[in-house]
């Protein structure tokens, strides 16, 4: 078995026993990247030289006995997370030359843990999208089928993990951007509770929805990264002062006493029959493992897409006002005057989906429309949040599909934004309610594309999700399948 194909916990065991060195592991991953990256396009910026320096330092920590579970582990970081001294572009021309002068809090934590950063992964521009088809950096291809999308917006992170171009990755999730690409690429992904992980240094999209989380080869690795990145940070006033448990202690066998709710609004016609069958088989499997299954209702589900596409663009239009060509990033050359510089820089620096969302968001926030759109959507958001509160009175975990279909083809949806937005229907609600959501592989379509099952739980119940996911993958083994050798 090649070193790059290991999980984080397997590699850590081998490093600890000195069967391999951190430098060998990083070199193996870099060689793998050299071999497959021209087909996948998972990365925007590589960081191989610095990665080898970190790997040397990690070797020393294994000798010193100060190594932890992430020491010497090669990771990919979504290009929306600021990395000091390493270009961070959000896959956008407007940040094409931006080198952050500081680290995001998650990066500070990962560096302290001794992780090796191999590169910055591709994404939908500014995380706006579900397919990782940014104009500026080009699409990331699905390692299971190169004509298909990798999902989005953290498609580069999910594809890099699936193609063994890193051992694990960080993504960010505003409406499904960790869970959906994880599902489409056959890997595990966790969007934590809002406030669990600091957003300091995460380039803002929809600030009331954004959350950083891990994408990995199995559930144990999700728990390991969560242990490292979680926790209160005074630099993010929305992070929650609450103790961080050892998430790996949740990984115990048996689901007796766990109540699984199936929201009937998430099992509807229009879902691809193979997706439906795979998720239902997954539910049967959970039942066999001792869980009790019951039907529940989330009655406001049909309004989720409409609420999201008011709130997220509104917050985005405000957050993206900062890109003006003055202090950093791209500036269009030779403008006639200051106002012309703003216009030219923004119009030529942003891609079409970002421009569409800025216009939408500016419109719904503009004079005379605020009550009709933003306030209305925020009120319906309350109803959606209350649906979950009711459901979690009778069950511990909700199980649903992640996406209504397996990955679609590259270019298939780019002309019809509303159709693309509707494909997010099952993942948006967790962000609206601030609850944690997870995706685990639960089967394959007849065309060989991975299918994911979504698990959602109440605020700060990540341990319950990890326990259920761990039991599921241990029993089914879908996560062990790999795409055909590239």
């Amino acid at each position: 078995m090649e070193l790059y194909s290991h999980t984080i916990h397997e590699a850590h065991e081998m490093l600890k026993k000195r069967e391999i060195s951190a430098v060998e592991l990083t070199k193996s991953v870099c060689d793998r990247i050299d071999r497959v990256e021209n087909k996948i396009n998972a990365y925007v910026t590589m960081n191989k030289e610095e990665a080898l320096v970190s790997a040397e330092a990690a070797n020393q920590r294994y000798k010193d006995g100060t190594a932890g579970p992430l020491t010497g582990i090669p990771l990919g970081i979504k290009d929306v997370i600021c990395t000091k001294g390493l270009r961070t572009t959000c896959s956008s021309k407007i940040l094409g030359n931006y080198i952050p002068p500081y680290d995001a809090m998650v990066m500070t934590k990962l560096r302290e843990a001794g992780a090796v950063i191999v590169g910055k992964t591709n994404m939908d521009e500014f995380a706006m999208g579900s397919s990782t088809e940014p104009v500026w950096t080009g699409p990331t291809r699905n390692p299971w089928s190169l004509e298909h999308i990798s999902g989005g917006s953290s498609g580069g992170s999910a594809a890099a993990v699936a193609a063994d171009e890193c051992l694990g990755a960080l993504g960010s999730d505003t409406g499904g951007s960790i869970r959906q690409p994880a599902a489409h690429c056959g890997v595990a992904g966790l969007k934590p509770t809002y406030g669990r992980v600091s957003r300091y240094g995460l380039v803002a999209y929809g600030s009331s929805l954004d959350q950083i989380g891990p994408i990995t080869k199995d559930v144990t690795d999700l728990a390991i990264i969560m242990n490292s990145i979680s926790g209160y940070d005074p630099q993010d006033s929305t992070s929650v002062p609450r103790e961080v448990p050892d998430y790996t202690t949740a990984l115990t066998h048996g689901l007796k006493g766990i109540k699984i709710g199936l929201p009937k609004e998430y099992f509807i016609s229009g879902i691809d029959p193979e997706v439906m069958a795979a998720v239902k088989n997954g539910v049967t499997e959970l039942e066999k493992l001792g869980a009790e299954v019951l039907d529940v209702s989330l009655p406001h589900t049909e309004y989720v897409v409409a609420v999201y596409y008011v709130i997220a663009p509104a917050e985005a239009s405000s957050n993206l006002a900062r890109y003006d060509g003055v202090k950093y990033g791209f500036r269009e050359k030779s403008p006639a005057n200051l106002m012309d510089m703003y216009y030219q820089t923004r119009t030529n620096g942003f891609g079409p989906e970002v421009i569409r969302r800025i216009i939408m968001g500016t419109y719904v926030l503009s004079a005379g429309y605020y009550d009709a759109y933003y306030k209305k959507a925020s009120q319906v958001r309350t109803l959606i949040r209350q649906d979950f509160e009711e459901a979690f009175k009778v069950c511990d975990v909700l199980v649903t599909p992640v996406a209504p279909t397996p990955a679609f083809k590259i270019g298939q949806m780019t002309d019809d934004p509303l159709q693309m937005y509707l494909s997010d229907i099952f993942t948006l609600s967790a962000n609206m309610a601030g609850i944690p959501g997870m995706s685990v592989p639960c089967g394959f379509s007849s065309a060989g594309l991975p299918i994911g099952m979504q698990l959602m739980a109440g605020h700060f119940k990540e341990e319950t999700l990890l326990k259920v996911g761990f039991n599921f993958e241990s029993a089914t083994g879908f996560h062990k399948q790999k795409p055909a050798r590239q």
């Binding site: 002068p101 809002y194 406030g195 596409y309 990033g329 923004r346 503009s366 319906v380 509303l418």
Partner: protein, 94 residues
């Protein structure tokens, strides 16, 4: 039509974007489709529903007002498209 070509142009201007005719031709119907879909929210009576701006109940996040080190002038200016001495340079305003 929920939003006219002229309104899209007005909003684009508010957001400091200057689109081409081709872009208006594409974006105006797309944004209309989305806004028509959003109309769905009016099916619900929300007169007595408080808005949610934040999903996790947190009241004011206070901290001590302490002076801490900053990143300094060089790093602050390092990404500037144009700079001079200790300042960012922009086209002439007045």
């Amino acid at each position: 039509m929920k939003i006219s070509r002229a309104e899209v142009e007005h909003v684009a201007k508010l957001a400091r974007l200057s689109l081409t005719e081709d872009q208006y031709a594409v974006f105006t119907p797309q944004i209309n489709n989305i806004l028509e879909y959003i109309e769905k929210l009016n099916e619900l009576d929300t007169a007595n529903v408080p808005p949610t701006s934040h999903a996790i109940p947190l009241s004011n996040a206070f901290r001590e007002d302490e002076v801490k080190p900053s990143i300094g002038l060089d790093l602050t200016l390092a990404n500037a498209p144009e700079k001079e001495g200790s300042t960012f340079v922009v086209p002439r305003v007045i």
